[in-house]
């Protein structure tokens, strides 16, 4: 298991390097000179030259890349071109809301998806199964923003049940929960489809295995066979596949945040890119990538923990 985790960790190194290189290159195309920005509008030429030297802007690109990495390690992601706020400060303020949104989306959509998928496998070939399949194919085909706009139109605007812009507060407050509800329904809504589809396939695969036949042969009810023998063994592929879908979820989160003006990293990233705020764009892309790499690692380790056979491999 340790070896498996280490292998995945090693694989993450080039990915991380690529991300940081992209971040660095982005900073190279910034039209404004960072030294001039830092020195302020009234600075003398000598001061700017001194800051240039301090920032290493007169050194070769490779050295600058090293210095860039060193600054990142110290939490210096540069300063926004648009509002002069340190990028790291904005990142710190937006990571929490994004994690809230992801958590609130997964906490209901994964159980519901697993339930629907199991239901489909249990009643395979019947109308219920077809219903589950229809929900899942619709779920992977609907644009996230469409689902969001439908919820805004009915729940938020027409029925006036829930707020649909911004974040009312932290997740543990009532206002926070109320404002989180529609974004989480939207993002979770597009996740139910893939999860139920993968669960159904995984349970059906397990149902054809020998130990399930044995369980049936000893007279267990179909419900016990599915619940105790099939579903439990199907969880390994399901967890892996859910892990693989985290990227899909991240994409959905960026769109959901934009639709609901949710103050998360995704919305910050989109705003930075469309307004050419490259230092900010660089910071958000690095943070989103790091989060993604981290989640992948966790899923890999979890996978090994769920399937003892993986530990040896």
């Amino acid at each position: 298991m340790l070896r498996h985790a280490l292998h995945r960790l090693l694989l993450a190194v080039p990915v991380l390097f690529g991300v940081l290189l992209i971040g660095f290159l982005l900073m190279q195309v910034v039209p404004t000179d960072p030294a001039t920005v830092r020195a302020g509008p009234q600075a003398s030429a000598e001061l700017i030259a001194e800051i240039r030297r301090d920032l290493g802007l007169d050194r070769p690109l490779a050295v600058q890349f090293g210095l860039y990495l060193w600054r990142l390690v110290q939490g210096d992601f540069g300063v926004s071109i648009i509002n002069n706020v340190p990028v790291v400060q904005e990142l710190g303020a937006t990571i929490g809301p994004t994690l809230e949104l992801m958590f609130a989306s997964l906490v209901w959509s994964i159980p519901l998806g697993i339930f629907l998928g199991t239901l489909g496998a249990y009643y395979r070939g019947t109308l219920i199964d077809r219903g589950v399949m229809a929900i899942s194919v619709a779920g992977v085909s609907i644009p996230v923003f469409f689902l969001g706009l439908i919820l805004i139109w009915y729940v938020g605007f027409k029925w006036q049940w829930l707020p649909f812009t911004g974040r009312g507060g932290p997740i543990w407050t009532l206002d926070g929960l109320r404002s989180l509800a529609l974004p989480a329904l939207t993002l979770g809504g597009v996740f139910v489809g893939p999860v139920s589809r993968m669960t159904r396939t995984a349970v059906l695969d397990v149902l054809s295995l020998d130990h399930v036949r044995t369980a049936r042969a000893k007279g267990l009810s179909e419900r016990l066979v599915v619940m105790r023998h099939a579903l439990r063994n199907a969880m390994v592929p399901v967890v892996t596949l859910i892990g693989l879908q985290i990227g899909f979820l991240l994409g959905g989160a960026v769109v959901t945040e934009t639709v609901f003006t949710w103050p998360g990293v995704g919305r910050l990233a989109v705003g930075a890119i469309t307004s050419s705020d490259l230092p900010m764009a660089q910071g958000t892309i690095i943070v989103l990538s790091l989060g993604f790499i981290l989640v992948n690692l966790i899923v890999d380790v979890l996978y090994a923990a769920l399937d003892p056979r993986m530990r040896a491999a």
Binding site: A138, I142, F145, L250, V270, I273, L278, Q282
Partner: protein, 288 residues
């Protein structure tokens, strides 16, 4: 040449008949064909120019005389916008699948054919690319090149390369074990010719199934990027960008956002259903 026709399957009913046995798949196929025709012939089918605006009919609801789908905030005919929007979205998906799928397929064939020395490096590269979600490619490329259709097509292509490489490699590895590959090699056929004449044709079904499924996904992703403002820029008609424009008028004229959104939903749904049916008909092994 005759060797290529020796596949495992016994005589089966025609592909079209197998596909259309399922009414859902048949409906999806008809819908896809209609949508493709509408997109290709958009300039001839459209009643107006896509940029013609008439502020007098701004936000006209569907069913207004002369405007069956209504008009957007600038008073542009939504029938025209929808046709041109479909054209742009489908073209975006088409180029991304051709470019990314082409490079991915080439990598997959090379990895399988030169298994000894190319498989490991190519698959490592694929693993690395796979550990990046499409949205991040989209954000990064849009940040570097600036938002636009080119950025979206490139991002979607890059995100398609590793997936296609995996599918094709898996399929090609099976074909490589077949006797006719050995036989063709024995005739002294060159590597490239062997790949082109014998390996590739026998992997076509896997390639085709994946390309169909991927086409739907790519359109969905691309429309999301455009919705975010990273793709097609207004006033250019593209379904995601149109939905984004319509979002600003959601409470006054919901049809402006709903029409392009429904169009994306329907097109992606049709491609997904068609892809699933194709997979079942052509290559059940690909079932995921």
């Amino acid at each position: 040449m005759s060797a290529t026709t020796v596949t495992m399957a016994p005589a089966r009913p025609g592909l079209l008949r197998r596909l259309t046995r399922d009414p859902g798949a048949a409906a999806a196929l008809i819908f896809v064909v209609l949508v493709l025709l509408a997109a290709i012939f958009a300039p001839w089918l459209s009643p107006t120019d896509p940029f013609d605006n008439d502020l007098a009919s701004s936000m006209a609801p569907p069913g207004t005389e002369g405007l069956p789908l209504g008009a957007d905030a600038q008073g542009r005919n939504l029938v025209t916008r929808l046709l041109y929007g479909l054209r742009a979205s489908l073209a975006m998906g088409f180029f991304a699948v051709i470019l990314g799928g082409g490079i991915g397929a080439a990598l997959g064939f090379l990895a399988a054919f030169y298994q000894r020395w190319l498989d490991a490096p190519i698959m490592r590269l694929v693993d690395i690319m796979l550990s990046f979600p499409a949205i991040l490619f989209g954000l990064a490329i849009a940040a570097i090149l600036g938002p636009g259709m080119l950025a979206v097509v490139l991002a979607l292509s890059v995100a398609t390369v590793p997936l296609m490489a995996r599918i094709v490699r898996g399929s090609a590895l099976v074909v490589m074990r077949a006797d006719y590959i050995e036989a063709a090699r024995a005739t002294g056929m060159g590597d490239l010719r062997l790949i082109w004449r014998h390996l590739a044709p026998n992997c076509l079904s896997a390639l085709f199934v994946f390309a169909t499924l991927r086409f739907g996904q790519v359109i969905l992703l691309g429309s999301a990027l455009s919705f975010l403002g990273l793709g097609a820029q207004p006033p250019n008609p593209e379904l995601g960008a149109m939905a984004s424009e319509g979002r600003n008028f959601l409470f006054f004229a919901p049809h402006i956002a709903v029409i392009p959104s429904v169009a994306i939903f329907a097109v992606v749904l049709a491609f997904n259903m068609l892809g699933d049916a194709l997979r079942d008909a052509l290559d059940p092994r690909l079932r995921v």
